[in-house]
């Protein structure tokens, strides 16, 4: 989680999911940074959809 925070993906940060990856992962965009996230990690994240 610390590593995600360094990349900008921290509590309260807004992000977008732009594409899927093999293995059930996603590519997230946060503050201009594109981050590929694996499925096991994604299942641990809690997010709220914003309008």
């Amino acid at each position: 989680m610390r590593r995600l925070a360094r990349l900008g993906l921290r509590v309260g940060a807004g992000f977008s999911l732009v594409s899927r990856t093999s293995g059930g992962g996603r590519v997230a965009v946060v503050a201009g940074t594109r981050i590929a996230l694996g499925k096991p990690l994604l299942t641990q994240l809690r997010a709220r959809v914003m309008a």
Partner: protein, 674 residues
């Protein structure tokens, strides 16, 4: 020990800038080169900047006492002009030159290390006493993703460190609608900021001027950070500061708008299309490193075995040394050794160039995402797939290709697995063995070797993962995807030459010495009455040594000195196996390995005798052993350079144990049926 001493002092000390007529110019006049460290997150152009600033004289190697690779080079910086207005000034451009020792530290997102590479960066920047730290740090920040790059800056600004910020990829940021006010950014950060484009060498003079100006000046006052033991509170404070800085510098919050890179990634990292694109890219890499390099290698081989050897022979004859042991040493030892080394140059150059292109373009990070799930099953990251694939062409560039892995332990594990990939040199022997023993099923037999190779990699990988690497944490997939960029010829050439030079310097000596040693063993008679360099192989020290180790292979069905000697030669180079066999049986080497002729008949007879009438399983066992044991001395040399002698020798031990065990099992089970 000072930083320069730790850097091994391998770079020549250049005279510092000569003091102008005005000694109080503020420029450093210390006799030693100042040391400047390049720091920053991965994929911010740090290494590109390093390549642009340094030329010859770059050294790459592990930092003393660590397995972390650090590049060090000489930056000969010239200021824009010597600022002097005295009438009798004799200053010249050379006087304005300042030689700087530049160190390219491993990429890190923060001073909180998650790997040995990041730990070294932290130690060198803030862990050492002030006198042992770099004189100045240049922190590279990607303008297109400023937020993630500024956490490191925030931490560095809390220390008493001289630093400047070099803003890269402003063009990428502009395409995303992000325009950065560098003056406002400098004001908010509390340290100088300069905009650069290291790929196109833009802004480097401004960077040089800024660095020269800041060297010797006191560090900016540290940022007033929160004094709290709560790490989360400290993080929140830093991110709040970062958000304020970004807001002021960009004029608005950064938008997460979709870009051209996102549209490409929709396909490149997709669940089905992504792996297909990856396989296509790998096929191109594989084809280039085999098909394109092969004719060049043949050309070089022909040059050394032909005109060069003939020329040397003629010269030695002219000097009265013809047909002497001196000729044998020079032609069959040294020239053959140097020739073998240089035949690897096209292959290595192409491999390094392709890796540089894939990395510079940004695709390598995507390939790591696509292959991550597969490689994770044996405890490796997705990027490890690339060197393993390359190994099926040649193990030597594949070993060097493990550099793309950010973690040293992962590099070692991958480098230990690469020798089990069945390279094209082994294929030549497989084809001949297939033709001799398996007739219409020759193709199936060869295919079985590749399947066996994959199974061995998986099994050995799992074995090492559950033993020596059992405490290695498996990090979740979190990969920062850089923007796609068109690779530049200059950067690709620079990186390729740097890595090729390193290979030649390290591996060259090992290869040449080994080839010469084999010649020597084949020239020394083991029986009385025979002249040096005029002895049949069977009566040489080489033949006696082969005969002495042959019994080791008896349980595998090929315990003859002829087969054992072939494996000894194969240790030097698998390409020499067939010619060695031909020399052993005193027959001509076949023009086409698929039709072995007299040589095939002789080999078949030998295997029939050594296996007690079970030549087929013995041949299979031999092929399995050839596939699994130590590839060649060039691979060992590459491993020696990349992972050090200890792990290289460990790898040799693992290869021999695995090869012998499998060969014995294949023969003992096979002879029950065949």
């Amino acid at each position: 020990m000072s930083l320069i001493e730790r850097a091994n002092g391998s770079l020549p000390l250049a005279p510092s800038a000569k003091a102008c007529c005005h000694p109080d110019t503020g420029r450093p006049t210390a006799p030693d080169d100042p040391v400047v460290a390049l720091v920053g997150a991965p994929n911010t152009g740090k290494s590109t900047l390093f390549n642009a600033l340094t030329g010859a004289g770059v050294t790459m190697g592990n930092w003393p006492g660590t397995t972390v690779e650090v590049s060090r080079g000489l930056w000969r910086s010239n200021g824009t002009e010597v600022a002097c207005d005295c009438e009798t000034c004799t200053c010249s451009e050379a006087d304005g030159r300042l030689d700087i020792t530049l160190i390219d530290l491993p990429g890190t997102y923060s001073l909180d290390p998650h790997s040995p590479d990041e730990a070294l960066t932290r130690e060198l920047l803030v862990g050492k006493p002030a006198a042992e730290r770099p004189d100045l740090s240049v922190v590279t920040c990607d303008a297109a993703r400023l937020t993630s790059c500024l956490y490191l800056v925030a931490q560095l600004r809390e220390q008493d460190l001289p630093m400047v910020v070099a803003l890269t990829m402003s063009d990428v940021a502009a395409k995303r609608g992000v325009h950065i006010d560098t003056e406002a950014l400098a004001r908010e950060l509390g340290c100088p900021v300069v905009e650069i484009d290291p790929r196109r060498r833009g802004g480097l003079v401004a960077l040089a001027d800024l660095v020269r100006d800041r060297l010797g000046r006191p560090a900016p006052a540290p940022r007033a950070a929160l004094t709290d033991d709560d790490d989360l509170a400290l993080e929140d404070d830093r991110f709040a500061w970062i958000a304020h800085v970004v807001d002021v510098a960009t004029g608005a919050a950064v938008q997460n708008a979709r870009t051209w890179s996102d549209r490409v990634d929709r396909w490149v990292t997709a669940p089905v299309v992504g792996p297909l694109i990856f396989l296509a890219v790998m096929w191109v890499v594989f084809q280039v490193t085999t098909s394109v390099a092969s004719p060049l290698q043949d050309l070089l081989d022909g040059l050394f075995s032909g005109p060069v050897s003939q020329g040397a022979t003629a010269l030695l004859s002219f000097l009265g040394l013809g047909d002497s042991w001196v000729q044998g040493l020079v032609v069959d030892g040294l020239i053959a050794g140097v020739g073998m080394l240089l035949t690897f140059v096209p292959l290595m150059a192409l491999m390094f160039a392709l890796l540089a292109i894939l990395e510079d373009s940004g695709y390598l990070a995507r390939a790591a995402v696509v292959t991550d799930r597969l490689m994770r099953s044996i405890g490796l990251p997705g990027r490890a797939f690339l060197p393993l694939i390359v190994g099926y062409g040649c193990n030597v560039p594949a070993i060097s290709g493990t550099r793309i892995l950010p973690n040293a332990r992962q590099r070692i594990l991958t480098a230990l697995l690469v020798p089990f990939t069945s390279c094209t040199a082994r294929l030549t022997v497989f084809v001949m063995m297939g033709a001799i023993f398996f007739g219409p099923y020759a193709g199936t037999a060869v295919f079985a070797m590749y399947v066996t190779s994959i199974l061995i990699i998986i099994l050995v990988g799992l074995g090492l993962r559950s033993t020596l690497w059992r405490n290695e944490p498996i990090d979740p997939l979190v990969i920062d995807l850089p923007a796609y960029q068109v690779p530049t010829l200059r950067l690709t050439s620079s990186v390729t030459w740097l890595r090729l030079k390193g290979f030649l310097q390290t591996a060259g000596g090992i290869i040449v010495v080994t080839v010469a040693a084999v010649w020597l063993l084949q020239s020394v008679p083991a029986k009385p009455g025979l002249a040096f360099a005029e002895v049949p192989v069977s009566d040489s020290v080489y033949g006696v040594v082969s005969a002495s180790i042959a019994p080791v292979f008896a349980p595998a069905g090929f315990g003859s000195w002829e087969s054992a000697s072939t494996l000894l030669v194969g240790f030097v180079a698998k390409e020499a196996v067939i010619s060695s066999w031909a020399q052993t049986y005193a027959v001509d080497e076949p023009d086409d390995n698929a039709t072995p002729g007299d040589l095939g008949a002789a080999v078949y007879q030998t295997f029939t005798e050594s296996s007690g009438g079970h030549p087929i399983p013995a041949a299979l066992a031999f092929m399995v052993f050839l596939m699994a044991y130590t590839p060649c001395v060039a691979t060992l040399a590459a491993q020696w350079r990349e992972i050090g002698p200890r792990w290289t020798l460990f790898g040799v031990g693992v290869q021999l144990v695995v090869a012998w065990t499998l060969a014995v099992a294949v023969f003992q089970v096979g002879r029950l049926f065949l």
